[in-house]
């Protein structure tokens, strides 16, 4: 594990940037546990002061320190991303493995449903859902809902992997030696699929955090919980740009960009690393 990390840091420029960005994100998350301010309380510091040494990102019109508030926001957004990723991975693995291994009409039906979910314009549906659950909505529930919608792309990817694994000789050997199809998928195919699942996890988190931003900006999530989306919502609700409090918008935007680029570059670099052919090219082989 340590050696892999060292190699990646040494050979992959993208991984280096991702590493720096994500260390910054992790630092923020750790700092959220020692925050001097309670994010639920407003008017604890002076209002609308620009960034200074005392308040790195300045303070907002609600009398909160933006930096410390954002430490909670990053933590919550990331946590929601993880919830979504876990749920959607479970569905994607289940559907991908079943469709790929069983084939036939089951495969046809599953993939037809799958393709419909890929193309479905999700935002209007999520807005409808968020609208109806407005009072019950919290970040956990949002994570679950996004998880239920976020699997189709990866299910297709896993299926295509299994289709090729199925033709390999070890699968045949397993079939001829009487292994049940359930154990073949779990023992023989799942280990090959897991690296892809891991890489797509990050991509899925990116997607769900982005969706949270979108829904929160529309006011369709629990607005009292700090998250990157609600940070932007409150800044907009108070007309931060019109009032000239630009740092209120700039700070969450900056944090979001660092988080998104960090996760994305990590995804790109891992994706290349798990493929031995591109890994060789990376170290100039």
């Amino acid at each position: 594990m340590f050696k892999v990390l060292r190699d990646l840091l040494k050979f992959d420029g993208r991984f280096r940037i991702a590493f720096i960005f994500l260390v910054a994100v992790v630092m923020m998350i750790i700092l959220s546990f020692v925050s001097p301010y309670d994010p639920a309380k407003s008017f604890v510091v002076a209002m609308d002061t620009p960034p200074s040494l005392e308040h790195i990102f300045g303070t907002d019109s609600r009398g909160q320190d933006i930096f410390w508030w954002l430490t909670f926001a990053v933590r919550n957004s990331l946590l929601m991303g993880v919830i979504t990723a876990v749920i959607s991975r479970a569905i994607a693995i289940l559907i991908g493995l079943t469709a790929g291994y069983q084939g036939g009409w089951l495969d046809k039906v599953l993939m037809s449903v799958n393709d419909s979910f890929v193309v479905l314009p999700l935002l209007p549906i999520l807005i409808l859902l968020g609208f109806l659950l407005r009072d019950q909505m919290n970040l956990f529930l949002l994570g679950v809902i996004l998880g239920l919608f976020g699997w189709p792309f990866d299910a297709r990817l896993i299926r295509s992997q299994v289709l090729s694994l199925k033709e390999r000789s070890f699968s045949r050997t397993a079939v001829y030696s009487g292994t049940s199809s359930f154990w073949i998928t779990i023992n023989e195919h799942l280990p090959f699929v897991l690296p892809i699942v891991f890489a797509t996890t990050i991509n899925n988190m990116l997607w769900s955090i982005g969706m949270e931003v979108t829904l929160s900006v529309l006011g369709l999530s629990d607005l009292t919980t700090p998250s990157i989306g609600t940070a932007l919502y409150w800044a907009n609700a108070h007309g931060a740009l019109v009032a000239g409090v630009w740092w209120w918008i700039a700070a969450p935007t900056l944090v979001a960009i660092v988080l998104f680029l960090g996760l994305y570059l990590l995804f790109a670099s891992i994706n290349e690393y798990i493929d031995p052919r591109t890994r060789l090219r990376l170290i100039g082989g």
Binding site: V119, L120, L123, I125, I127, L128, L206, G210, L232, I249
Partner: protein
């Protein structure tokens, strides 16, 4: 021809119907998962906003709402009547703008979203593919690597944030583009040259958002597709035969990589459409996205429902149309 229809067209058409069926069913189920009585909640919300409604319009609204949520009868009956109303094109009146029909308001907003979306998708697709192919054919070119890095850096960022950054930079700090809207306040849409020019000026930033976010994906897709093709024997042969580079690039390399990218375009339409909605909110562009925003603020349930249904049918139809033109690009499908 008959074999083509049987093998290609009919499965595509079934997929088209499946997509609409699943989408509409999901929008049917969602309101029924809501734990509170949507009709009473809706009326309470409208009253709380201080709307002075007389008893009669409350009663007619309650009836309209119960009807619209389709809450009378067994779930199966509800489901059937839900489809019945849809097939008649009846989405009910807007609750925020009672009693203007939802379909009329969506019809007014649709041209703005559609024109912007189509232009932006086509631009980003063409440029992404072109630069992607160039960058894999000329891997040492500096300018192309800069374009690649920028494209990849913007790609993972949500539409909302890219739009926000563009707005702050190009309308706030360097005010060369207008803040919001599709045309200046006070003018009426018409076909004069002046109006078209301001319309275009207003569309630059929203379109740029969609293009910037979309570009990186097409770029990287084309690059990885062509990186396999450039080492193929027929490309090497064409090169040694001294064919001109432009011709090799367009006829030998790009053409073969274009098909998966076309499929990708069809697959991404739903996502791009969602992105366009949120981009409109940032720029106050008077399309479907802004309509959604207003509907959310006004608790206009029927409008949100209508927008969800329209977008599902719209995206499904677009994907189906792409499937129909696909054989024009792929001779294998035609002669199968």
């Amino acid at each position: 021809m008959r074999r083509f229809a049987l093998r290609y067209l009919i499965p595509r058409f079934i997929q088209y119907l499946t997509l609409i069926f699943i989408g509409i069913t999901v929008t049917f189920i969602i309101p029924r998962l809501s734990p509170n009585d949507p009709v009473e909640a809706q009326i309470a919300m409208m009253m709380a906003r201080g709307n002075s409604l007389d008893a009669q319009s409350v009663a007619s609204m309650r009836e309209a709402l119960t009807d619209m949520y389709g809450l009378s009868g067994s779930p199966l009956q509800q489901y059937v009547s839900f489809w019945g109303r849809l097939l008649r094109g009846d989405l009910g009146p807007s609750l925020g703008n009672f009693p203007t029909p939802v379909s009329e308001m969506i019809g007014q907003a649709m041209p703005y979203t559609l024109s912007l979306l189509l232009t932006a998708v086509i631009i980003s697709w063409i440029f992404g593919n072109l630069f992607g192919a160039l960058s894999s054919y000329y891997p040492k070119n500096r300018a192309l690597s800069v374009i690649e890095v920028v494209g990849q850096a913007v790609r993972p960022i949500p539409y909302y944030i890219v739009a926000m950054v563009l707005l702050v930079v190009f309308a706030f700090f360097i005010p060369i583009f207008p803040f919001s809207g599709a045309y200046p306040v006070g003018t009426r849409p018409n076909w004069s040259l002046d109006f078209i020019l301001t319309y275009l000026q207003h569309a630059v930033l929203p379109a740029a958002t969609l293009v910037m976010v979309g570009f990186g994906g097409w770029f990287i897709g084309m690059k990885s597709l062509t990186s396999n093709i450039i080492s193929e024997d027929y490309v090497v042969y064409a090169e040694t035969a001294g064919l001109n580079e432009k011709k090799i690039l367009s006829n030998y390399i790009m053409r073969n990589a274009l098909l998966p990218q076309l499929t990708g375009l069809a697959m991404s339409l739903g996502t791009v459409f969602s992105g366009a909605l949120i981009m409109e909110v940032v720029f106050g562009y008077p399309g479907i996205g802004s309509l959604t925003m207003v509907a959310v603020y006004r608790n206009d349930y029927s409008m949100i429902m209508g927008i969800a249904i329209y977008s599902i049918i719209g995206v499904a139809t677009a994907v189906f149309l792409m499937d129909l033109i696909y054989p024009l690009f792929d001779p294998r499908v035609r002669y199968q």
